[in-house]
């Protein structure tokens, strides 16, 4: 076990050492001297005010996160205006298609999961016979089982910093059942959503601007923001829009070698599968190439797999990177992989719970100890989120009381998502100058829009990026909120926006017609 060095006196001692008094002098409760003499203190150049835009950490200034950025701020304002003054805009409501937040747009949670969580929140219920009228029998049993895994059944206590052991065991079992390869509960770190795990890895890997992380373009801007926040450099690799957002190894090689020849130390490869915002599901062949590449180049794979339960096309399947690597015969000595998962997506969509985990394999014991140490500073992630993570990896099985209803809920949501993805994809493709790749998975569409020269000039005049210009116009005309492609990255000179497939199915026709109408008006105004 790592022996943390503990110092007997504090690291930053003042220059003069304090001597222990030879006698105890009992002071009355101490009051500070009533006046401090500023003249007796050395004053270096004093900042005008300690926390201003000029003195804030520049890395904070540098990072950006468009998913809740400018367009969304405008939307919130419009929403308030609608509330205060109905009829003040040409639409009745704001439709937030900017963020993968399914339950905010009417998706229902999975009943079984909520039953278990409610019972764990208020275990007093488990002693009551009345609950059999209100809760399914297997949810009662599962809650009892989970509480049995928690010391003292205390869901209000800080747990082990990696998360409750029994829950990690359940997750490891779920991973093994999914992949066919073993998973070690001690490799798993439960976190408040997947995002803290990503921040953790950036913290470990980034020493300076010379440390680079290969990231897909377009990417989910958590990566660019986190890299900026931690003072590293994002090394882009472009996904190929023409081939359904394909990931070409030649592109990876090119970008890696360019970065290295610039003196950069490239440490890891971020891969989002299924993709966000792009929605592609990698083929197994492609994944093998990526594994081979990372192994050869000594790169850690940071595998964002939060959309693993969102695959809409029969010809594709989710394979975890760990599974692919193991199937190639590569174990912990050959390759380092960090896999991220979350309770926010899939068909459970439990964003507000902040539940997730990352699984670290292929790291030495002393690195693992450092990861544990960082996790311990925050003590632990929220317990309900931990329970939920164990539930999604270990859902009702055939024969369980809730199985049928669970399946119905799950398949209902997934098939609806697939339908909505197709409907919106077709709708975008029918617009003048717009092409949209299929969403094979995840929750988004990322259409490319051709913006005429006049529009680009108008955007410049409005001091806004052309895609942001389009998105703001769209918002003001229709109330639909999407995120400009600039927020995710795109090949320079191309313009996109990201739109979720999440509005309720009954609203989709209205979304399509409003959008089409707006687009036609826009093109009429700005057409070359």
């Amino acid at each position: 076990m790592q022996n943390f060095s503990v110092v007997s006196s504090f690291p930053l001692k003042p220059a003069c050492t304090f001597t222990i008094p030879k006698y105890i002098v009992k002071f009355p409760p101490l009051r500070l001297c009533s006046r401090l003499h500023t003249s007796s203190l050395t004053s270096s150049t004093m900042d005008p005010s300690p926390l201003t835009i000029d003195t804030i950490n520049p890395k904070v200034l540098k990072c950006e996160y468009a998913v809740r950025g400018e367009v969304v701020t405008i939307a919130q304002r419009l929403q308030q205006e609608l509330k205060d003054n109905p009829g003040s805009h040409p639409f009745e409501e704001i439709l937030y298609c900017n963020i993968g937040n399914p339950q905010s747009l009417g998706q229902h949670p999975i009943t079984f999961f909520r039953e278990v969580l409610a019972l764990c929140d208020h275990p007093f219920l488990l002693d009551k016979s009345e609950i059999s009228c209100l809760f399914s029998a297997d949810s009662i049993r599962r809650a009892q089982k989970i509480l049995g895994l928690i010391p003292g059944k205390a869901t209000g206590a800080y747990s082990h910093s990696q998360g409750i052991k029994g829950l990690r065991e359940a997750i490891a079992a779920g991973i093994e059942a999914r992949d066919g390869f073993p998973s070690n509960p001690d490799d798993i770190f439960l976190t408040d959503g997947a995002s803290p795990g990503v921040h953790m890895m950036m913290r470990l890997l980034i020493r300076s601007e010379s440390d680079g992380l290969l990231c897909p373009i377009p990417q989910y801007p958590l990566y660019s923001a986190s890299i900026a926040l931690h003072g590293g450099t994002l090394v882009p690799y472009y996904l190929n829009e023409a081939t359904g957002w394909g990931l070409d190894i030649s592109e990876l090689k090119k970008q890696l070698h360019a970065a290295r020849s610039n003196g950069m130390s490239v440490r890891a490869l971020v891969v989002i599968n299924p993709g966000n915002p792009t929605g592609q599901v990698l083929t197994e062949e492609n994944q093998k190439q990526i594994v081979e590449f990372c192994k050869k180049e000594g790169l850690i794979i940071l595998a964002d797999e939060v959309y693993q339960a969102n695959v809409y096309v029969p010809e594709k399947q989710f394979h975890s990177f760990k599974k692919v690597a193991r199937s190639m015969g590569y174990g912990e000595k050959e390759i380092s992989i960090v896999s991220f998962h979350s309770v926010s997506k899939g068909f459970y969509g439990e964003c507000g719970k902040r539940g997730g985990y990352y699984e670290v394999t292929g790291f030495s014991a002393d690195i693992r100890a450092q990861i544990y140490k960082l996790a311990s500073v925050n003590l632990c992630s929220n317990i309900a989120g931990q329970i939920l993570a164990s539930l999604i990896m270990n859902p009702p099985k055939a024969g369980d009381d809730s199985y049928e209803s669970y399946l119905a809920e799950r398949d209902g949501i997934l098939s609806s998502l697939a339908r909505r993805a197709k409907t919106l994809e077709d709708a975008f493709n029918s617009l003048e100058g717009v092409t949209c790749n299929k969403a094979e998975g995840a929750m988004y569409l990322f259409p490319q829009i051709y913006l005429p020269e006049k529009a680009i000039k108008a955007a410049a005049a409005a001091k806004t990026a052309p895609d942001a210009f389009y998105c703001k116009r769209l918002l003001n005309a229709t109330g639909i909120v999407v995120v400009p492609g600039t927020g995710f990255g795109q090949v320079p000179g191309t313009w996109h926006f990201r739109c979720t497939v999440l509005p309720q199915e009954e609203k989709i026709p209205a979304v399509v017609s409003r959008l089409s109408e707006f687009h036609e008006d826009f093109m009429n105004q700005f057409r070359d």
């Binding site: 007997s8 900042d47 835009i53 950490n57 969580l117 050869k296 902040r354 925050n378």
Partner: protein, 481 residues
């Protein structure tokens, strides 16, 4: 592959510098022993429910109903839940767009921030702006967000009390800043020394460090002292003069065990002072659902309130918060319930008061039992736990013990605490984890073990301590400290 992409040498140096003793060596050893079957009493962390404190009933009822809203549609629900819990659950669900499973505003649900603002207004007598209140996944995340915004590099120093809760030293190390200690005076009930504050700042500046902020922990952790109004005025004045942001860690504000110094918030004192300072001194105040008599550590619920922070800085802080999308919604509801608990006349009021009072009064008694127990040992001096959840006795260790510790490659207090653990199962945190004067040793324990176990635990400690002193003391019948 010749070398791994991530080995110890190529790890971010700042990560290596981080230390967090609360779950460090002692805790890991205790966990090992527990696995081997030894009964361990975990007093290393302020984790009340882990030591048998029961959750308050009302909030658990409300959150359970919010988790499973289908219950609210069922006529049987009133058999199991009181009407006011049902009403509150409906209320909170109406604040969300989509229930507990949707990301909220990145600052937290507006209605709950309003509840927090109202609470602050009632507590302090001054209005509070919900737009300047950010709910976070525990207070620690809020502290880290603020320190990350403040610290630009090694040239930026943060004044932190010693002894301190090591989140501060850990975060400063992680963000590459400089830790600027100011020593609390143990013989003066852990009081602040004005001279020392000034001296700490002067020394830091002489080294070229720009001191940016000052942390106060009130009530103190691990020290337990409660700051007086005069103390707070002087601190605020000092920060104003020296151009520092004041970070007020007030997570233990509900845990007060004496009547001479009730809790007063830094904000209240600031507002009372009036004039330019009340409009200009930058203050961030932190609170949590983890402590007090709630003890809901596992929910990870907290908030920070910003005072006099310029709007552009607030925007940047918002931006960073938005990257993590939103704090967890159930904990937001716990926070709302904490600041807006059942009122007289509510169905659940009596039970709520009974449960809360029971916990607080017991904590007060346990604070006394523990302090007195420690002070009854010849080589131990312990300031009374005026507030918070900890006891931080000073333990005089004989020179031979210190030598043995050195031989074992350990700091003397770590050595002592490990032996205490092995002998009694009591898992504490050595004082070096919090900082202490050179050559002075402490340990931190919590006052949280169940009241009925307290006397036995203190006896167990005394027995071990006596044996330890017998073993190492040169002159039997050692003099009292």
């Amino acid at each position: 592959m010749s070398s791994k992409a991530l080995d110890y040498e190529s790890l971010n140096e700042n990560v290596k510098k981080v230390q967090y003793a609360v779950r460090g060596e002692l805790y890991l050893r205790a966990s090992e022993l527990e696995k081997e079957g030894k009964k361990i009493i975990f007093t290393n962390v302020g984790n009340p429910h882990a030591l048998g404190q029961k959750p308050l009933t009302f909030p658990r009822q409300v959150v359970a109903l919010c988790q499973a809203p289908f219950l609210l549609d069922d006529s049987n629900v009133s058999l199991l839940f009181p009407a006011d819990a049902i009403a509150r659950a409906k209320h909170y669900l109406s604040y969300t767009s989509g229930g507990l499973g949707a990301y909220s505003d990145s600052r937290g649900l507006l209605e709950i921030r309003k509840e927090v603002a109202d609470f602050i207004g009632r507590r302090d007598g001054y209005p509070s702006d919900p737009e300047l209140i950010y709910l976070t996944d525990g207070a620690s995340k809020g502290v880290m967000q603020l320190l990350n915004a403040i610290i630009r590099g090694q040239g930026d120093g943060i004044l932190v009390p010693v002894p301190q809760y090591p989140l501060y030293s850990a975060a400063i190390a992680l963000f590459g800043g400089s830790f600027v200690p100011y020593y609390l005076e143990e013989t003066a009930n852990w009081g602040l020394s004005a001279a020392d504050l000034g001296q700490s700042v002067a020394q830091a500046r002489a080294k070229g460090i720009t001191v940016r902020a000052m942390v106060i922990i009130n009530p103190g952790n691990p020290t337990g002292q409660c700051l007086s109004e005069a103390n707070l005025r002087d601190i605020l004045q000092f920060c104003y003069q020296e151009n520092l942001v004041l970070l007020g860690d007030e997570v233990y504000q509900q845990n007060i065990y004496q009547d001479e110094r009730p809790f007063i918030s830094a904000k209240k004192v600031l507002m009372d002072m009036g004039g330019p300072i009340s409009r200009e001194l930058q203050l961030v105040s932190f609170h949590t659902v983890s402590k007090g008599y709630w003890g809901e550590c596992g929910q990870r619920g907290g908030y920070f309130e910003m005072t006099n922070i310029p709007s552009r800085s607030v925007e940047e802080i918002y931006k960073v918060a938005s990257i993590s999308l939103s704090p967890n919604v159930p904990a937001q509801i716990f926070m709302g319930l904490m600041v807006n608990p059942p009122k007289p006349g509510d169905i659940s009021y009596d039970q709520f008061v009974r449960e809360s009072k029971g916990i607080l009064e017991s904590l007060r008694r346990r604070a006394r039992i523990m302090t007195d127990g420690f002070n009854s040992c010849m080589n131990v001096v312990c300031n009374f736990t005026e507030g918070a959840m900890y006891s931080f006795p000073q333990i005089r260790l004989p020179p031979r013990a210190i030598e043995d510790a050195k031989k074992a490659g350990k700091a003397a207090d770590v050595f002592y605490c490990l032996k205490l653990l092995e002998a009694t199962g009591i898992s504490t945190v050595p004082g070096s984890g919090f900082g202490q004067k050179e050559g002075v040793f402490h340990l931190r324990t919590t006052i949280l073990p169940a009241e009925e176990d307290m006397l036995e635990i203190m006896e167990s400690f005394k027995k071990f301590n006596n044996e330890f002193m017998e073993q190492y003391e040169d002159h039997p019948g050692y003099p009292r400290m």
